[in-house]
């Protein structure tokens, strides 16, 4: 129904013109092989988003788009509050502000290779990860509210990191408009001792080697050199974010019904931005964003402590921190006119181009660093936002490889022990709490991240800067 309506505009841009209840077209950024492999559900879900009230210009799917709930994973859409636009808990997802941060270390591959096993063991020991793990901090109710209001600023004020880190986090590490009073006691209870924990599933901490540089000038500005060692952390807002989504979904299903908004899937649950419920969710979700960046900031501190103990010459600096499950208010040019839009990115990364006012002075020339995680056996990438991307996709691009098969299929195909042994032969140390968890995350269970990143660059959404290969992977 949708796939046959897909029209090719260029090698990496396709669209489905609006029909039926759709108010705007669907635009898919992917090359032909990615399109051929894309589930038809991606188009259907992007088309459902294109039918929501107040949607502007188009409903976008990034090159790594796959079947999600309500919105596709890899979906981007902007809504105008003045045109009856909505905000959707399903459009942000359960893991609010799940994201990636990259740390440069000033170390080379040779420095780390000499003590790789010791470093891996120490990281696995110090970073709380996996089911049932607790952080070192237990937050009082007042401190919880401080953390939810101030994000990474709260963490830095507690001694976790430096002022210098803050400029390298989206919104300088503090999302404005966070309203802890709209975060339920249940959500706060879940987070009480989860600050500074990695989580599980596809979340990880990796030590990586820079194996290729594609854009020398930008790489230099980002502090990336061939064979240097980088740390990447992928995790989100933990129990608090999951509970905020769980709390608001049923309320938004009811709100949509009473507003007469047709929801082909309940997970599209949404409320008008200009409604009490819409405002409450926005305040709670912003608190969730602060929770996620505070979490990654505390984890960064733990990483620095480990490097300080084992490789004291290391200078661990934050390159950048991106969140890829969010709704943010941004100004974008639509048909040549600036408009304030609520941009939902579900499994999509903000990728602001050079000159964007949200970027710090030292990234004005380069564009925003964009961090794309791979799998524990394949590459990850660092890209930079482009001016073209600002025009094409509200300054958004892909977020990762995306699964190619289910967890159940992965465990039927691979054994955790074999995966660990196979990766050891490639020089990659895996530290995972569970072998079944490792099997579920086997590199073969994911799509080819290189194909996704190449299509992202070809489409003009972001520019490739560096490729990274894993040396150590700590899984939850």
């Amino acid at each position: 129904m949708y796939a046959e309506r897909l029209k090719r505009h260029s090698d990496c841009a396709w669209s489905i013109e609006a029909f039926g209840p759709m108010q705007v077209p669907v635009v898919v950024f992917a090359d032909k092989p990615l399109i051929d492999a894309m589930d038809e559900q991606v188009y259907a879900q992007a088309a459902h988003v294109a039918a929501l009230p107040g949607v502007v210009h188009a409903s976008y799917a990034m090159p790594d788009a796959h079947w999600g709930y309500g919105f596709p994973i890899g979906g981007v859409a902007g809504f105008d509050a003045e045109q009856g636009g909505v905000i959707s808990a399903g459009g942000v997802g359960f893991d609010i502000a799940c994201g990636v941060r990259a740390l440069t270390t000033s170390l080379t591959y040779d420095d780390v290779e000499r003590c790789k096993d010791q470093l891996a063991t120490m990281l696995a020991h110090r970073i709380p990860a996996g089911v049932g793990s607790r952080g070192k901090l237990e937050l009082s109710p007042d401190e919880m509210d401080d953390m939810l209001r101030s994000g990474a600023h709260w963490a830095v004020s507690r001694g976790y990191g430096t002022e210098e880190d803050l400029a390298r986090i989206e919104e300088n590490g503090r999302m404005a408009g966070a309203e802890p009073r709209f975060v339920s006691d249940h959500a706060k209870q879940r987070q009480k001792d989860q600050v500074g924990t990695l989580g599980s599933g596809n979340h990880y901490l990796e030590v990586q080697r820079i194996s290729a540089i594609y854009d020398g000038a930008i790489a230099e500005a980002f502090g990336l050199r061939l064979n240097d060692v980088v740390v990447m952390i992928h995790c989100g807002s933990r129990g608090l974010g999951h509970q905020v989504a769980t709390d608001f979904l049923p309320r938004m299903v009811k709100a949509a019904k009473s507003e007469g908004i047709e929801l082909p899937e309940k997970e599209l649950a949404c409320a008008p931005i200009k409604s009490d419920l819409g405002r409450q969710y926005f305040g709670a979700m912003n608190a969730g964003i602060n929770c996620a960046v505070a979490n990654r900031q505390v984890l960064t501190h733990l990483v620095r402590q480990v490097f300080c103990d084992i490789l004291p010459s290391a200078e661990v600096k934050l390159l950048y921190d991106v969140s890829h499950n969010t709704c943010k208010v941004e100004e974008h040019l639509v048909d040549g006119k600036p408009r304030k839009l609520y941009i939902h990115r579900k499994g999509a990364t903000r990728a602001f181009g050079p000159g964007h006012p949200a970027l710090p002075a030292d990234l004005q020339q380069t564009g925003q660093p964009v961090l794309i995680g791979g799998t524990m056996g394949t590459s990850s990438y660092i890209l930079a936002g482009t001016r073209t991307g600002m025009e094409l996709s509200f300054g958004s691009c892909c977020h990762g490889a995306g699964r190619a098969m289910s967890r159940k299929q992965a465990t039927q195909r691979w054994h955790g022990k074999d995966v660990v042994m196979h990766l050891a032969q490639k020089g990659i140390v895996i530290k995972g709490a569970s072998l079944r968890g490792v099997a579920e995350e086997a590199p073969g269970a994911y799509k080819d991240v290189t194909a996704v990143v190449d299509a992202t660059e070809k489409a003009g959404l972001a520019r490739k800067v560096a490729r990274l290969e894993p040396l150590i992977c700590v899984k939850g």
């Binding site: 589930d39 796959h66 079947w67 999600g68 709930y69 309500g70 994973i73 997802g93 359960f94 893991d95 996996g130 089911v131 049932g132 607790r134 249940h186 209870q189 879940r190 009480k192 989580g199 599980s200 599933g201 129990g239 999951h242 509970q243 989504a245 769980t246 979904l249 049923p250 299903v253 899937e265 309940k266 997970e267 649950a269 995306g402 699964r403 098969m405 289910s406 967890r407 159940k408 299929q409 709490a433 569970s434 072998l435 079944r436 968890g437 579920e440 939850g476």
Partner: protein, 140 residues
Amino acid sequence: MGQPHWEHYSHPADMGIRGFGQTREEAFAQAALAMTAIVTHPAKIESRKSVAIVCEEDDDEMLFWYWLSAVLYEMDTRRMLFGRFDVRGVEGGLQATAWGEEVDAARHQPAVEVKAATYADLKVERDSKGMWIAQCIVDV
């Protein structure tokens, strides 16, 4: 009619859970076991502590979703895994008891935590033989 049981089914990114029972409540209990089995084998969990769970909702599907969300909340905040559930239907909702113990990483080898129950593929219905089925996709 068949015996109560549970199964997992595939979803590209996550996991589907499905409980079967001769009553709606039995299907709910079996689905909660299916959710536990994403984390660890339910047979590895000892019934050391019990937790009471109450949910209020008239709609069967929404009640099932609230039930799974409540079990997840108890798992997360108590750091517990549950290997046995007794669900009783009451007017306007359900009352249940979950038995289990605190997570023991070495013994349970937990594979992955469940973030949330979703509305995706959410169904509570009876099959042609009268067996109750309760299912949805959970986010991991």
